[in-house]
Amino acid sequence: MQPTGQEQSAQGVDLQALLAEARVNEVLEQLDAELVGLAPVKQRVREISAFLLVARAREMLGIQSETPSMHMCFTGNPGTGKTTVATRMADILQRLGCIRRSSVVAVTRDDLVGQYIGHTAPKTKEVLKRAMGGVLFIDEAYYLYRPENERDYGQEAIEILLQVMEANRSDLVVILAGYKERMQTFFSANPGVYSRIAHHIDFPDYSAAELLQIAEIMAQRMRYRFDDESRATMQRYIQRRIRRPNFSNARSIRNALDRARLRQANRLFECAAAGERTRAEELTLIHAQDLLASRVFRGDAE
């Protein structure tokens, strides 16, 4: 026999047990370990998981409530980890029973908007159907809306999106992502979208110290290492790089590391050509001069 609501509320629920059962902590810990900084984001992710857990407990006790709307908007500069967090978010949402699969379908304007009349609606619906049961991640969502062209098909895609976001709340979680200012213009032009998104999460830029930490983690993951000198050089590199145009946080660091690896390989090759034997530790070390050759340091002499 099903226990009645009253009997159950007398029993109460063990939130800790529920948490352990959902195995959300694993993902949260992974998030903490993998991502440097981003304290406000992690805080919000924790809040959301706590909220979903409580919603689940309420459901178990028979307290009626509507399916919470879990649509989100990630704003922040490029390379601040929006896509990475979206993937983790899908994991968390799936473990908490908010969605059925932890899959993320990542799309941009081109995947949603058609090229001629009558092309957009089927295209958008196709994408929505593919994403159902999981997370739909729309990168650079503000491109959907082009105010300069009033006959732009983006508007049509937005309308269908809104309709499905509202009607199929329990089947689909939509995450919009993009630069903060442009997202704000997008929202002011489409207040309907803004009001249907419950969670707005802002991704702050990384500090120079955090970027250095990121560089270390990335290098470690690629099985490279810094010595004291190259670490100091990396620090100087980061400080310069931040001020340069097109700085995109962690992505810039990744690119810098990739280029440093390239130069390191070239340097080792030249040493070998000069008749030196390459030692094992040399293969994993990123030398200061690999970084100093970067464009960022050019013009130092002047």
Binding site: S103, P122, L128, K129, R130, M132, G133, D171, L172
Partner: protein, 133 residues
């Protein structure tokens, strides 16, 4: 007359929950679902109208149900069925097909007799009352 075509047609109509479970099963088998509708359920009317393309890259029952409901809204008084197509080599055919909507008043069939050359009698079946719903 209650039309009995496809799977489950001798059972009471499936609820949406049951339909979802069947879709889930089909998706787990890796079959692609397609929605079709018709006015005329004549047994020889094999190819019903297609409601959109077969959904080859859909992974969740909600998406299929979404299309079923869209079709129901557009054609409230017609037969709607779901086909699950198995693309594996050797099958390449519909593995499961069942009706998900019928009109309130279903048509019936009439047997007609006609005389051909040499007094040969030919029988044929005709749908009566299709498209009234």
């Amino acid at each position: 007359m209650r039309i009995t075509q496809g799977a489950f047609s001798f059972l009471p109509d499936l609820s949406d929950e049951q339909i979802r479970a069947q879709i889930d099963y089909a998706l787990r088998q890796g079959w692609a679902l397609a929605v079709e509708f018709t006015e005329d359920p004549h047994p020889r009317n094999t190819y019903w109208e297609m409601w959109g393309m077969p959904m080859f890259d859909v992974q969740d029952a909600a998406a299929v149900l979404y299309e079923v409901n869209a079709c129901r809204r557009a054609y409230p008084g017609r037969y709607i069925r779901l086909n699950a197509f198995d693309a594996t080599r050797g099958f390449e055919t519909v593995r499961l097909s069942f009706i998900v909507q019928r009109p309130e008043q279903e048509p019936h069939f009439e047997l007609t007799r006609s005389e051909g050359p040499g007094r040969r009698v030919r029988y044929s079946m005709r749908t009566i009352g299709a498209g009234r719903g």
